[in-house]
């Protein structure tokens, strides 16, 4: 059988689809509520269980927009003033993970302690 470029692309596409296994959003069992007021996270430190997916909900009580960001949690999401957002976090190994408001990184930070 002669393999054409098209067949090759089709095979690659099939492989990709299998590897990615794009699944619909599954609300994870564990949810952490954070609020942002006067440019401070409440709670500023939260403990969550290790090795299970986590949803973090952020309620911005300030009028100013913020960008919830964390390198180690791998999130960055804008939250408008007086608005709420949520992000999905992968199952994490134990550790201490820092998050912050990218617009006020020096003053607005918090930690996720995973045990």
């Amino acid at each position: 059988m002669r393999m054409t470029t098209f067949d090759g692309l089709k095979a690659a596409g099939g492989l990709l689809a299998a590897v990615f296994a794009i699944t619909p959003v599954a609300a994870s069992a564990e949810t952490l509520q954070l609020s942002l007021q006067n440019h401070k996270f409440h709670p500023a430190e939260a403990v969550v269980p290790a090795n299970q997916p986590l949803t973090i909900e952020i309620d911005n009580l300030d009028a100013t927009p913020a960008e919830f960001e964390s390198k180690t949690l791998r999130v960055e999401k804008v939250v408008a003033g007086h608005a709420k957002i949520s992000v999905q976090i992968r199952a994490l190994p134990p550790g201490r993970y820092r998050f912050f408001d990218d617009y006020n990184e020096d003053t607005t930070e918090g930690f996720l302690v995973v045990k």
Binding site: R2, V19, I22, P65, K71, R74, V79, A83, Y103
Partner: protein, 279 residues
């Protein structure tokens, strides 16, 4: 003031590098000024709209609107860059030869320009909306420091534009016979980096759940929040703690663009290429 300068500079630099590269890539193509200006202007207008509707977007699509939007515009940029590279591989040489007088080359060139204008627009849109939101926050906080912060932001914008100009001027010092190869490679890595970044948004939305573990942690060697790390992040998609899926998508994108560019290069008839692959 310094904080505002740094934040604005940081965002402008990311879009600025891309604009600088596109300016170098399109050097000598008729009408590029118009297209790139349109890309930047469209990006700025989009950024303002995006900032105004930030909350509506975040709440759209069951709360993952912002992620889907980011992943889609990044995906669009990856497609445009890929298309541009393939197009340049097919027509770049003939175009360079006929550039001065051929109306056809100009017409074909504008198609590639449209693709790159979209890439510029997307870059300005994404970074610009963050700047708009940041500035909006500054303005409504008011206070005596606001003016200083705005001055810092203006300086950051200027510095960012300077980086854009330096990127362009640096690239065009490359002799033109190498410039094509250099920019093709740059664009391939740029596209792979953007593809890996779009994965981050799909993971954050909970749409990709496989291979989420961190592939490596090189933050001790080169943090991607340092200036050089950020440059590499924008140019080749460097990340100090990528997920395994990001690394996979990065590799697949690189391989796909390199392969497509090679396969579709002129001078190698298609049938011969296929036969060669089978053998």
């Amino acid at each position: 003031m310094l904080g505002a300068l740094i934040i604005v500079f940081r965002e402008v630099i990311e879009a600025g590098l891309i604009v600088g590269i596109v300016l170098a890539v399109t050097k000598g193509i008729h009408g590029r000024g118009r297209w790139i200006t349109a890309g930047v202007a469209g990006g700025i207008a989009g950024a303002a709209l995006l900032a105004v509707f930030a909350d509506a977007l975040a709440n759209a699509l069951a709360g993952v609107g912002q992620e889907i939007f980011n992943a889609c515009v990044l995906g669009l940029a990856v497609c445009m860059l890929t298309w541009h590279n393939i197009w340049m591989a097919r027509h770049g040489r003939e175009m360079a030869a006929e550039l001065r007088d051929a109306g056809l080359a100009v017409k074909n060139g504008s198609r590639s320009l449209a693709a790159l204008a979209i890439v510029v627009g997307v870059a300005v849109l994404r970074e610009g909306s963050e700047i708009v939101l940041f500035l909006y926050g500054l303005v409504i906080s008011g206070g005596s420091t606001a003016l200083g912060l705005l001055a810092g932001s203006a300086l950051g914008l200027l510095l960012g534009c300077a980086v854009s100009a330096l990127t362009f001027l640096g690239l065009v010092t490359i002799p033109s016979r190498y410039l094509f190869g250099v920019t093709t490679t740059l664009i391939t890595f740029l596209a792979a980096g953007l593809a890996a970044q779009s994965v981050l948004f799909l993971q954050q939305a909970g749409l990709i759940t496989r291979l989420q573990a961190t592939a490596w942690d090189s933050s001790a060697i080169l943090s991607d929040t340092s200036l050089f790390g950020r440059l590499l992040h924008t140019l080749i998609g460097y990340s100090d703690q990528p997920s395994q899926m990001q690394v996979l998508v990065y590799g697949v994108t690189l391989a796909t663009i390199f392969t497509l560019t090679k396969l579709l290069e002129p001078g190698k008839p298609r049938a011969a290429t296929v036969a060669h692959t089978v053998a």
